[in-house]
């Protein structure tokens, strides 16, 4: 154990105190009497192997990529050449065609870069989330990053400006002595709770509407496309609430993530949820088959929404703040009941 550093008094005008001259940079001499521990090497974590085994197999289609990339590159070159020659030779039609071709290539490239950019943002989001999870779990040792710096990163990730009122009220509440755990509480309250509330409202509304739409729609095919469309729209909006812009690829990736989370959700949670779902669907089916179907679809949307919230939220929910399906179920059911009541007088 190294000795605690002694105190130091400074002159009041914050002038740098004269330091002791250092003889050698980087080298440190220890007394032989200094307590020492045997050299301890951290065990190599075995998780990457397991992760790799669990993760879906990744294969890159190099051949296809070379062919596509080559064709695109050569095409662009040829179009540019044609354009150049046609301006010289006066072949306006060929020139216009190649111009259109170039524009198309440019647009495609822009879209591609946009996609990549958003994918990167999603990846950064996931990384930040993991970091926050690791460091802000309990009172972490002082070796970790300063909580306020991490909070600043989170603010940037969420796309909030520095003078955003919520961020300002967080700064007012935050004190230099707050630990990581305390900072997490404050961030959750000032930045995330308003968004949680909005997201929950959104999920409630969307699942209710989905339930009603499925209940009234006459065709199964329409049901299916309705579900897909609305669920993707919901995912988009939830992501936007937490400051994440989704492109095509990132949306797909996130959707896959959410679905995987749903598929591997804890068995007990599934059982209790599904039990209640079945019960309420049965009850609803007693009223009408349509209502039963609607409720089923609505509940699925609600579950997807909640799962998406859990996946996207930058800091994992704590204990009792997590929105539960049971609260939403009643609301979805009420929406359906209203429909039913209105239908009955006829």
């Amino acid at each position: 154990m190294s000795d605690p550093r002694p105190g130091q008094r400074f002159s009041l005008d914050d002038a740098p105190a004269p330091g002791e001259p250092t003889t050698l940079q980087g080298a440190r001499h220890y007394l032989p009497t200094q307590a020492s521990d045997p050299y301890h090497q951290d065990e190599i974590p075995d998780s990457p192997a397991i992760d790799a085994a669990i993760a879906p197999p990744r294969k890159r289609r190099w051949g296809l990529m070379i062919v596509l990339g080559g064709a695109l590159g050569l095409g662009t070159l040829e179009a540019a050449q044609t354009l150049y020659l046609s301006t010289l030779g006066g072949d306006w039609l060929a020139g216009a065609w190649s111009l259109i071709g170039l524009t198309a290539v440019g647009l495609g490239a822009r879209a591609l870069f946009g996609e990549l950019w958003r994918l990167r943002k999603l990846r950064r989001h996931a990384r930040l989330r993991r970091q926050l999870d690791e460091e802000w779990v309990d009172d972490a040792p002082a070796t970790h990053t300063d909580p306020l710096t991490l909070a600043g990163e989170l603010r940037e990730q969420m796309g909030l400006p520095r003078d955003h009122p919520q961020w300002q009220s967080f700064l007012d509440a935050h004190q230099s002595h707050h630990t990581a755990q305390e900072t997490r509480q404050l961030i959750a309250h000032y930045l995330l709770h308003p968004r949680d509330r909005a997201a929950r409202r959104l999920v409630t509304r969307m699942s209710g509407e989905t339930a009603v739409m499925v209940a009234v729609s006459p065709l199964t095919l329409v049901d299916m496309s309705l579900m897909a469309w609305r669920n993707i729209a919901m995912l988009d909006r939830i992501a936007a609430l937490y400051g994440l812009q989704l492109g095509y690829a990132s949306r797909l990736r996130l959707f896959r993530e959410v679905l995987r989370n749903m598929a591997f959700a804890g068995a007990s949670e599934m059982v209790s949820d599904a039990g209640m779902d079945l019960l309420s669907m049965n009850l609803a089916a007693k009223l009408s088959t349509r209502a039963g179907q609607g409720l089923g679809a609505g509940l699925l949307t609600a579950r997807l929404g909640l799962r998406a919230m859990r996946t996207i939220r930058p800091i994992a929910f704590e204990g009792d703040e997590q929105p539960r399906l049971a609260d939403l179920r009643r609301e979805v059911w009420q929406q359906l009941r209203r429909l039913d009541d209105r239908a009955e007088p006829r």
Binding site: M1, D3, P4, R5, P6, G7, Q8, R9, F10, S11, L12, D14, P16, A17, G19, D139, P141, A142, D172, A173, H174, Q175, S176, H177, H178, T179, E182, Q185, L186, H189
Partner: protein, 463 residues
Amino acid sequence: MARHLTHELRNLLDRGRDRQLRLAVTGLSRAGKTAFLTSLVNQLRHAGIDARLDLLKSAREERLLGAQRISQPDLGIPRFPYDEAIAALESTPPRWPEPTRGISELRLQLRYKTRRARGLLGDTATLTLDLIDYPGEWLLDLPLLEHDFLSWSESQLRRTGPERRQHAEAWRAALDRHRPDEEVDESRLAELAEHYAASLRSAREAGFSHLQPGRFLLPGDLQGAPVLQFFPLPGVGESDRQTLETLPADSLYQTLKKRFRFYQQHVVKPFYREHFRRFDRQIVLVDVLGALNAGPERFEDLSDALATLMRSFDYGKRSLMNRLFSPRIDRLAIAATKADHVTPDQHANLVALLESLLAEPIKDLRYADVPVRAFSLASIRATETREIESDGKRQPALRGHGLDGEPVLIYPGDVPDRLPENAFWQRQGFDFTAFRPAPCRSQALPHIRMDAALEWLMGDKLR
């Protein structure tokens, strides 16, 4: 009488509905009990207006409406001198509140909005918080109750280290001329007891904490009474019990034994029965930095004192039955006070040191399945944290005013995360500066982590 009965009935009703909380603020002398209570009342009074209680969930969600002092249950006990303490803090130059010299009580009524409306009951609720303040010296009398004279005598003399023994030198010398079976007259006994009291006082001056009996240091209204004229007998032990018990009634041993018993029965027991039996929550305040300043022997002494002290409280899970009839402490906070005297980066070490200081009691509490949390706390914050450039590195520093009123800018030094060896103390030692409170004008007192401590102690009652 009728009024008393209705009062009792209401208390019982409140306890039954779990709307009453008795908070034990435990700490030896100079641990910061009075400052804690003053700050607690102040923060709760200012809640929702200008108090920063962001870590108290109900305050953060703006549900805490405030608190009011209401008439206390026992009208025979003085009220906690909150206004005097605030006046001291607001005077120019600001002073710390006077140390406590007697028992006082305080009852606060907290009003808050519940998280969910409670039907016909409306959406506001109240919580009654009972607090008492008392001199820390008296607290150490509680462990006396589990001793008789002989075992107490033995325990008092077994523990003393070399430095502590020095303080008892004069008393030892005076006592050496007497034997336990000898008859000693009243005035000589008073003289010896005075020697003993003087040894306790000088030990306290030197920074020791485990000093029994507490009334010797702060007699209150018992000044000069024979009940305060006894002392432990060196050189006798459990093996001599047989012979000692047969001694005549006016022998030194028997006289001391009688007085010790009287002290136990008529001084300590009522104090314990009336004030220390019925608690729901507890916060143990420890001046860790003061103990570090004082050196290894006193540090051990403090650890020892706290361990014996905490055995005097009932810990365990709560249920409706024992809430009504024999309340127990079901949640506990331990706090290293004066955390504003070190820089924020040292708070983690301060907490670790506190935990190692209280290692033994924490084990017992864990066995009893009572949740404990350690905090670094400053009830009234006297310094502000700065950062300065020194040796090309940025390092934190504290800015405040010393007790003499001189402004200081200081890095107070590292706090070790466990007790350093003796050699370290001889080489370097610790010297944490004391600060006087920062000037404040009728706004909420600045603090460190009072809100977190409050959340832990009563957050679950403010839902």
